[in-house]
Amino acid sequence: MTLVAGGSAGAEATPQAVEQSLQRHSAPTGRLVERFERGLEAPICLTWELTYACNLACVHCLSSSGRRDPRELSTDECRALIDEFERMQIFYVNIGGGEPTVRSDFWELVEYATEHHVGVKFSTNGSRITTAVAERLASSEYVDVQISLDGATPAINDAVRGEGSFDTAVTAMGRLADAGFVGFKVSVVATRHNVGQLDGFKELADRYGAQLRLTRLRPAGRGAEVWDELHPTAEQQRELYDWLVVHGEQVLTGDSFFHLAGYGESLPGLNLCGAGRVVCLVDPVGDVYACPFAIHDEFLAGNVRGAGGFTDVWRRSDLFDELRRPQSAGACGSCGEYDACRGGCMAAKFFTGLPLDGPDPECVLGHGEEALERRGTSEAPRPSLDHSLHPRRRTGAAGRPGDPGDSRPGAAGHLGPVAVALLPRRPDRACDESPLAASGPGPVGPSAGTAGHRPH
């Protein structure tokens, strides 16, 4: 019997964030994962998008950020929410946006959180990481930083994140390294254009004493518009999987890639869709969604401004209650790989217009592609919110910003009404962005050898 999992001193003494702790339970710790599926007293990984304001306009932004929402939580409301996180013993939050550092009270809120036993990892494009800020961050024990980068070269990165964004990110990385900040994260979304650069990303991160984090491109937010064009091809998915099999222990993934488990062995992590179970998202106006990739009314559980606050939403919302019940395999029930991939990512299916109890659009057996073809001309659901600086009418389903055409097969119904039959059942696993969804090399403790889940 293993009584303790995760957190083992493990093989390497590298700094670990919660994500890594989770990732280190990589093995089938069956019963523990089942408990997670039924929900916890509080999330393990909570993402808090502090603002929709952003000085960049990345084409795949999950939250369609750009403009600040005037209903944004005030400083006092943010502090009250942090107090609630402390009471619920949410040890760690992932702060994002938008670009969170553009909030004038950002540093004040980070300090307030860490003073109240809520550790912070924040995601940034690096534009506000001055030398002074880097030094301050390096001296804080409870703050971790994640720099977003989507190409190992300026051309690949800037095509997605905007002109000059590669230099901005690398400058920030240099300042953090110079200040002595070891082990900050470099976070990459895997796309068709950068899958060939995985070794390059790893070298870049290593050069700055950082840790690489690789996550899946989701068709959420503005990402829904570019997904057809940017998501890795089937061959690239295999390449990505093979690379992760080799490097998975040194690279964080937020449990992003459990849909690839059908290729063979599970990647390190919980291999669990954490949506509403171990993970959730609080957006800038206090809305609580099941996961960071599901900013849509369909996955909205409540708002922290409600009478019961965040606690009540987490523990009693109808949506989360439903997500914590046993889920049906649906159309995937007869597939021999279902136990490995669990039907893939709920958000990826939703935003590509596929039934939630069927295959993931990137199903490694090709069932997702078949489902997309069967879906035909009906358009996928559009994101409910858009804070883009320059909102664009969506044409068909995908297409690069600025591309007039839509090359997606079957995308004839441009501008057609959203007519997608959503099934009530949700998949067994959601994805998580969490840093915590899984952990790694083995459980600690009596009878090691059982562990193996993988979320965040």
Binding site: L3, V4, V444
Partner: protein, 101 residues
Amino acid sequence: MPPTPPVAGSPAFDATRAWALHPQVSLRPESFGALAYHFGTRRLSFLKSRTLLAVVESLADQPSGYEACRAAGVAPTELEAYTRALAALADSGMICERAAS
């Protein structure tokens, strides 16, 4: 700032000595047991039984690891498993030795 890695090659766990939860560790009870989070190392551990949670919580009041197990109701046949669990927690810095009272 990056968390401090635990000291490599931690000394063997000795259940006859007095132990306590590390001051930077918080325990969050859950139906399956508890989550333990170390703010210094940012490590997260899962205690997979409520009894183990009770053992860990009683460490500070008991003269030894063994006594903490007994006080929490660990049966003699389970003592080895619980001792190994404590050793794992010691190894990851979640619990630490204290001066015997």
